[in-house]
Symmetry: C2
Subunit: 450 residues, 2 copies
C-alpha cells in the first residue's frame, strides 16, 4: 500500500453533495421556528402544537411502569427474569404492546385491528416514513396530500424521495373533486399515485374536519379508483362533541386505509410511541405477507424496534385506563375546548370589526388559521416576538412557501386562560400595526421598521 505524505485534507462537506431533502425549505421550517421561539422564551406562544402540560407528573411514569410489569406477570404469566428481559432487551420489531394498541383502537374508535397488522413505531412520524419508504419504488411514484399539509408529512416524503401532489382543502376538509382531478391528471401523465394522505379530524394546520358523508364518499372513491388512503388521526380523540365521527379506518370495508396512529397527543409525546395499522395483503414474488410485515422489515433497518421501556410506559397508561384513552383525556379535551372557545371569542372581540381580517372556526383540535391583509413571513414572526412578545406559525411553512403568505396559524393547546388574553392583546396590537402600515403603504411592514 502506498500513501502519499501530501497535504492533509480536513474533512468538509459541500451542502450540494448532501441529500436533496436538506436543501428543501420544508426541512428547515421547524428548525427556524424553534430558533425564533428559543430566542424569545418569554413570548406568549400560539406557535407550539404541543399537548397541554398541566397534568404531567413524573410519579405517573413510575406508576405506568409498575402497572405494565404487573400486566406482564399476571396476564402474560412472565417470571421476574422474563419481565426484566422484556424491558431491557431488544424486542420484537413490531412491538410489545400491539395487542394493547388493538384493544385501545376497539375501545376508542370502534376499529377492529388484528394485532398482526399493527407495527408500533417511534411516534407517528416513523410510521409515516415507513409507509412512504415502502410505497416508493421508482421515479414514477407520487403521493397526493392536502395543501396546506402537516410539515412532517412533507419532510417524510422528501426523505423517501416521493413527490407530493397537492390537493385543495377548504373549510370542509380535503376537496374530493380536486382529489379525483389530481389523481386522473397524475395518472394520465404516467405517474403512479401510491396513496392519498388525509387527516379527517382537525387536520394540522387548518383545524378542519371532514363530514361523515365525505368520509364515505372518499372511501368509495378510493375503492373505485384503486387508491390507498393514509389516515392520520392525531387529534380525533380530543373531541368534546357528544359523538365523534367515525374514522375512515372504522368505516373501511376494503382495506383501503393505512391508519397512522399517535400517542403523542393522547398518551405523552416524551414516550415517542405511535403505530401504523396496515392489514393490506402484499402479493406476487416475495409477497404473501401483510403490508405491516413489510413495514416491519424496513423498521428493523431503521430503528430495530421501538424502545420497550417507552412502550411499557404507554402500555401502562393504556392499562391504567382500561385500554381506552378517550376517558383518560377528558380533562385535556376540556382544556382544549375551553381554549379554542376563548381564542375564537377573543379574536371576535378584538378583531371582529375589521373586514380585512378573518379566521376559520374549527369545532375542535389545536389550530385556527387567521387571514390578514399584510404579508406574514418569518421576518414578521421575528418582529412579533421581539416587539410584541407573541409567537405564531406563518402559514407559508405548510404550503412549502408557495402560498399562505397572508395567513398565520394559532395553536391553542398549551396556554392558560390568562396567557391567552394577554397573548391575544399582543396579537391584536401586531395586527393593528400591520393593517395601519399596509393601508399607509399598500405593502407589508417594511424591514426597516423591525
Amino acid at each position: 500500500m502506498e500513501i502519499l505524505e501530501s497535504e492533509i485534507i480536513r474533512a468538509e462537506l459541500s451542502a450540494a453533495t448532501l441529500h436533496a431533502s436538506l436543501g428543501d425549505v420544508s426541512m428547515t421550517s421547524m428548525t427556524l421556528l424553534n430558533e425564533v421561539a428559543g430566542r424569545y422564551p418569554d413570548a406568549i406562544s400560539f406557535a407550539a402544537g404541543r399537548p397541554y402540560e398541566g397534568f404531567y407528573d413524573v410519579k405517573l411514569l413510575h406508576e405506568y411502569l409498575r402497572i405494565f410489569c404487573h400486566h406482564l406477570r399476571t396476564e402474560r404469566g412472565m417470571s421476574e427474569a422474563q419481565v426484566a428481559r422484556t424491558l431491557f432487551q431488544y424486542g420484537d420489531t413490531k412491538g410489545i404492546i400491539a395487542d394493547l394498541v388493538a384493544r385501545a383502537l376497539a375501545a376508542d374508535e370502534g376499529i377492529e385491528a388484528d394485532p398482526a397488522s399493527v407495527v408500533v413505531t417511534v411516534g407517528c412520524q416513523e410510521a409515516m416514513f415507513l409507509v412512504l419508504r415502502a410505497l416508493r419504488a421508482d421515479d414514477r411514484d407520487a403521493l397526493l396530500a392536502p395543501s396546506p399539509t402537516y410539515v412532517g408529512l412533507t419532510g417524510a416524503a422528501l426523505l423517501a424521495d416521493l413527490p407530493v401532489l397537492p390537493v385543495r382543502t377548504d373549510a370542509d376538509g380535503i376537496d374530493l373533486a380536486d382529489l379525483v382531478t389530481g389523481l386522473r391528471t397524475a395518472r394520465a401523465a404516467g405517474r403512479r399515485v401510491r396513496a392519498c394522505y388525509v387527516t379527517p379530524d382537525f387536520a394540522n394546520p387548518m383545524g378542519v374536519s371532514m363530514s361523515l358523508a365525505d368520509r364515505h364518499r372518499l372511501l368509495e372513491l378510493a375503492a373505485c379508483e384503486d387508491l390507498l388512503l393514509l389516515e392520520d388521526n392525531a387529534y380525533g380523540l380530543l373531541n368534546s362533541a357528544a359523538e365523534r365521527p367515525a374514522t375512515l379506518k372504522a368505516l373501511d370495508r376494503h382495506e383501503r386505509v393505512v391508519y397512522l396512529g399517535s400517542f403523542a397527543k393522547t398518551g405523552m409525546p416524551g414516550a415517542r410511541v405511535g403505530y401504523v395499522v396496515a392489514g393490506q395483503r402484499v402479493t406476487g414474488p416475495g409477497g404473501g405477507s401483510l403490508l405491516a410485515d413489510e413495514l416491519s422489515k424496513i423498521k428493523s433497518m431503521l430503528t430495530v424496534n421501538t424502545a420497550p421501556i417507552a412502550q411499557a410506559i404507554v402500555g401502562g397508561k393504556l392499562l391504567a385506563h382500561g385500554c381506552g384513552l378517550a376517558d383518560a383525556n377528558r380533562r385535556e379535551t376540556e382544556v382544549y375546548h375551553r381554549n379554542l372557545r376563548q381564542v375564537l371569542d377573543g379574536l371576535d372581540r378584538r378583531l371582529g370589526g375589521y373586514p380585512d381580517v378573518s379566521w376559520n372556526v374549527p369545532t375542535g383540535g389545536f389550530f385556527i388559521v387567521l387571514t390578514v391583509p399584510f404579508t406574514v413571513d418569518d421576518d414578521l414572526l421575528a418582529h412579533a416576538a421581539r416587539r410584541h412578545g407573541v409567537l405564531f406559525t406563518p402559514m407559508h411553512h405548510f404550503y412549502g412557501s408557495t402560498a399562505g403568505h397572508r395567513q398565520l396559524r394559532l395553536s391553542i393547546s398549551t396556554l392558560t386562560p390568562d396567557r391567552i388574553e394577554e397573548g391575544l392583546d399582543r396579537l391584536a396590537a401586531l395586527v393593528e400595526e400591520g393593517r395601519a402600515e399596509h393601508e399607509g403603504t399598500g405593502e407589508h411592514i417594511p424591514s426597516g421598521a423591525r
Copy 2:
C-alpha cells in the same frame, strides 16, 4: 364529482411495486433467523448477538429515572414542572443527554466531542441511516464497507438507496490495500465514494480488531484520499484487556471520523438510545452548519426526537456511574471474556482434531467464525435447530449471500457456562454429521436427510 359505482377493488399491493430494499435478501435475513429461533425456543442459541441478561433488574429502571430527575433539579436547576415537561413533552431533536454522552466519551474513550456535534438517536441503527441518507445525493454515490459486514449497515444502505462496495477483511480487520484499490477503482468509474464504514473493535460478524498501527494508517489514508470514515464502536468498551486501543475518533485530528455510538451493549438495548458524533463542517449555499445539524434535520422528519423517557434512563445509568460505562460494565465484560475463552477452548477440545474445521481466535467481542467443509445454509440451520437443538448464524447472511457458504457465526454473549458446554456438544454432533456426509457424498447434507 363523478364516481362510477363499478366493482369495488380490494386493496392489494404487488410486491414488485414496493421499495427495492424489500426484495433484497439482506432485509429478510433477520426475519428469517428470528423465525427459526422462534420455532425452536428450547434450542441453545449461539445466534443472538444480544448482551448478557443476568444483571437486568426492573428496579434499576426506577432508580435511573430518579437519578436523572435529581440531576435535572440539582445540576440544571429545573423546577418540578420543568422536570416533568422534560420527560413527558417533545424534546430537542438532538437529544437531552448530549452533554452526558460527551462526558462519557471523554471518560471512556478519551474522545473530546463538542456536545453540539452529538445527535442522540434511536439506537445506533438510526444514527447509521441518518448519516447514509445525508450522504446520498444521487446515483453516483457509493459507500465502502468491509465484507462480511453487519447486516444493519447493509439494510440502512438499502433504505438510503446507497450501493455498498465491498472491501476485503481478514484476521487483522479491514484490508487497507484493498480499500485503496476499491476507492480508486470506484472513483475512476465515476463513483462518488462518500465514506468507508469500519468497526475497528471486534467487528460483527468476524470479531476481529484492527491494530493501532492500522488505525493510524487508515486515518492518514482517509486524510490523503479525502475519505470520510464511519466508525461503529458497539463493542470496544467490552474489552477485558488491560489497555484498550484508541478509537479512530480519539486519534482523528482532521474531522475524518463520523462516530456511531451505541448504548445497546453497554447501557441497555431496551432503551434504544445511540448517538452519532459528526463535527464536520458543511459548506456552500445552505451550509455553514455542522454535519450533526444536518443529521438533526433529517431526524426531525424521521423520529422527531429520541424518547426523552428512554434518554432519561440511559442518562441515569451514566450518572449512576460517574458518566463512565467501562467500570459499569466490568461484570458483563468478565462474562463475555469467560464465555469467549470457554467457547474457544471447547471448540479446541471437540473439533481441534479435524483439519478441515477451523475458526478464528478473537481476543474479545461477541463473535467467532467457524469454517467447515460442508455447506452452511438456512436449511442446515433449520436442521440443526430441529435435530440437534442448537442455533447459530449462517455467515452468508453477512455477505449478502455471495460468499461465506461454509461458515457460521457463533455468538457467545448470552449464554451461561453449562449451556455453552451442552451447546458445543450439540454443535460438534452437527459438525461430525456434516463432515461424515460431506466425505461420503462430496456434498452437503442432502435435504432428504432433514
